[in-house]
């Protein structure tokens, strides 16, 4: 366990705030919130040790529904803020939260380089293959043939493959969960948080309002038959034929997290110079 346990452990419900979620009845995100609170309760994590940073979208409203610290930022920009917080406060359990539109489209660049930089944090993307908050446009993970009013006949481009992108970009932990199995997802979240480096967890989380067809996901999602590997190339090869509906932990790497020593302890504990000294060095 990498984060200190609290002497006053909370039940999962106690990690939830008084703010009632505005998610649609039946939304998968309710279960993701439950999974996260169950994970923290199991870890006996002090709520003041946790911080969630989100972008914009239905999934990005999650930080308001928990009593941990939270930052609800701008569209696609959760990761830069999360990385900054982690580097400034390496003692905190930092969790980035977002959706497929927020994380893979406008936030796509940050996603790639967040994996590459490998700061010790966890990034949870709730993927419902649609821009839900803005009423049903195709997102990067929407199927090529998914008809929408804005893109009749389909997107005509193959969907983004976040698991493969994360592996190729250097994420140190890559997994997929399902909102229909919140307890299994809680286990994945705990493993992701405890694994050093950038942990990426994609969560299949149906949008029952703008993608009612996703009610059928429950019958399609299945645990992976593959074991967790420690070599990224092997993991990439394994995921080449992935149907996008498998759950499990696919990859656990051994990269040293950015800003940490090989044993995981942070390097940048305190500033070594005063800001005025740094400014003086930069003056011509």
């Amino acid at each position: 366990m990498r984060y200190p346990v609290t002497s006053n452990p909370l039940k999962p419900r106690q990690y939830k705030s008084d703010v009632e979620p505005i998610w649609c009845p039946g939304c998968g995100h309710f279960a993701v919130l439950s999974a996260l609170t169950r994970a923290w309760s199991t870890m006996k994590l002090d709520a003041e040790q946790a911080v969630m940073i989100s972008g914009i979208g239905c999934s990005s409203r999650l930080p308001a529904y928990a009593i941990s610290y939270g930052f609800h930022g701008v569209h696609g920009r959760a990761l830069p803020v999360a990385i900054g917080i982690k580097l400034a406060r390496p003692d905190l359990c930092v969790v980035g939260i977002g959706g497929d539109g927020d994380g893979y489209s406008i936030g796509g660049n940050h996603f790639i380089h967040g994996c590459r930089r490998n700061v010790d944090m966890t990034y949870i993307v709730m993927d419902n293959e649609v821009y839900g908050m803005t009423k049903g446009q195709a997102s990067p993970t929407s199927p090529e043939d998914w008809h929408s009013k804005l893109q009749p006949g389909g997107t005509w481009v193959p969907p983004f493959r976040p698991i493969s992108i994360a592996l190729a970009s250097g994420a140190n932990f890559v997994a997929r969960g399902f909102s229909g199995d919140p307890n299994g997802l809680a286990k994945i979240i705990i493993e992701g948080i405890n694994h050093p480096g950038f942990s990426f967890i994609e969560v299949l989380s149906p949008c029952i309002t703008y993608r009612p067809d996703q009610r059928g996901w429950k019958g399609k999602v299945h645990p992976t038959s593959l074991h967790t590997v420690e070599d990224a190339v092997t993991a990439l090869q394994m995921m080449a034929n992935d149907d996008g509906m498998t759950t499990g932990i696919f990859y656990k790497g051994h990269r040293t997290a950015f800003g940490c020593k090989p044993d995981g302890s942070p390097i940048f504990l305190k500033p070594t110079k005063d800001i005025s000294e740094i400014e003086a060095e930069l003056r011509p």
Partner: protein, 177 residues
């Protein structure tokens, strides 16, 4: 908890039963509270009130469990270490069965199905109990859940017959041709 030993000897212990019962009721309370909140936010007050009532009913079961045995004295289990047939506990209504257009009749039918799953769970636990004390507790719990089925049926009988979901939404979320 696995209901059967390798040599097919029943082995549901008292501690296993109480731990599973407590977890089952706790998850039911959490789910009913979520559903009540969601329906309240989306102006389906009748269904919200029903789900809130169910949360209170299941909450009384949690209290009963905790009066029988302090959960802290039971073997600690992670959320994924319970022996359910489905990913979620039997009495939690799956989110994918929920719609903002759910009627009171539809909500009651979903709740009744959840209670019947709980009946089946405790009945099976009684069948495979390791001793008489465990069997008696499991049978009592199964009967409590049967009582809930009767209670919900009585509530349904007070309503006119109706569909599970409202027919037409005059302001649908998405207008697709």
């Amino acid at each position: 908890m696995s209901f059967m030993d390798e040599d097919e000897t029943p082995k549901v212990s008292y501690e296993d039963l109480l731990a599973h019962a407590h977890r089952l009721e706790t998850e039911a309370v959490e789910r009913y509270e979520e559903l009540a909140s969601a329906m309240r936010k989306h102006h389906n007050q009748e269904v919200a009130d029903f789900f809130q009532k169910m949360a209170e009913v299941e909450g009384s079961h949690v209290t009963k469990m905790e009066n029988t045995a302090d959960p802290a004295t039971l073997p600690a289990r992670a959320p994924w270490e319970y022996d359910w047939e489905d990913p979620e506990s039997p009495e939690a209504i799956p989110q994918d069965q929920i719609s903002y257009r759910l009627t009171a009749q539809g909500a009651m039918r979903l709740a009744m199905a959840a209670e019947r799953r709980a009946v089946n769970f405790f009945a099976k636990a009684a069948e495979y109990a390791a001793d008489d004390k465990t069997r008696a507790i499991a049978e009592e719990m199964a009967q409590d859940e049967r009582d809930h089925v009767v209670m919900i049926q009585q509530w349904m009988d007070r309503l006119p017959a109706g569909p599970d979901e409202r027919g037409e939404d005059m302001d649908p979320p998405m207008d697709q041709d």
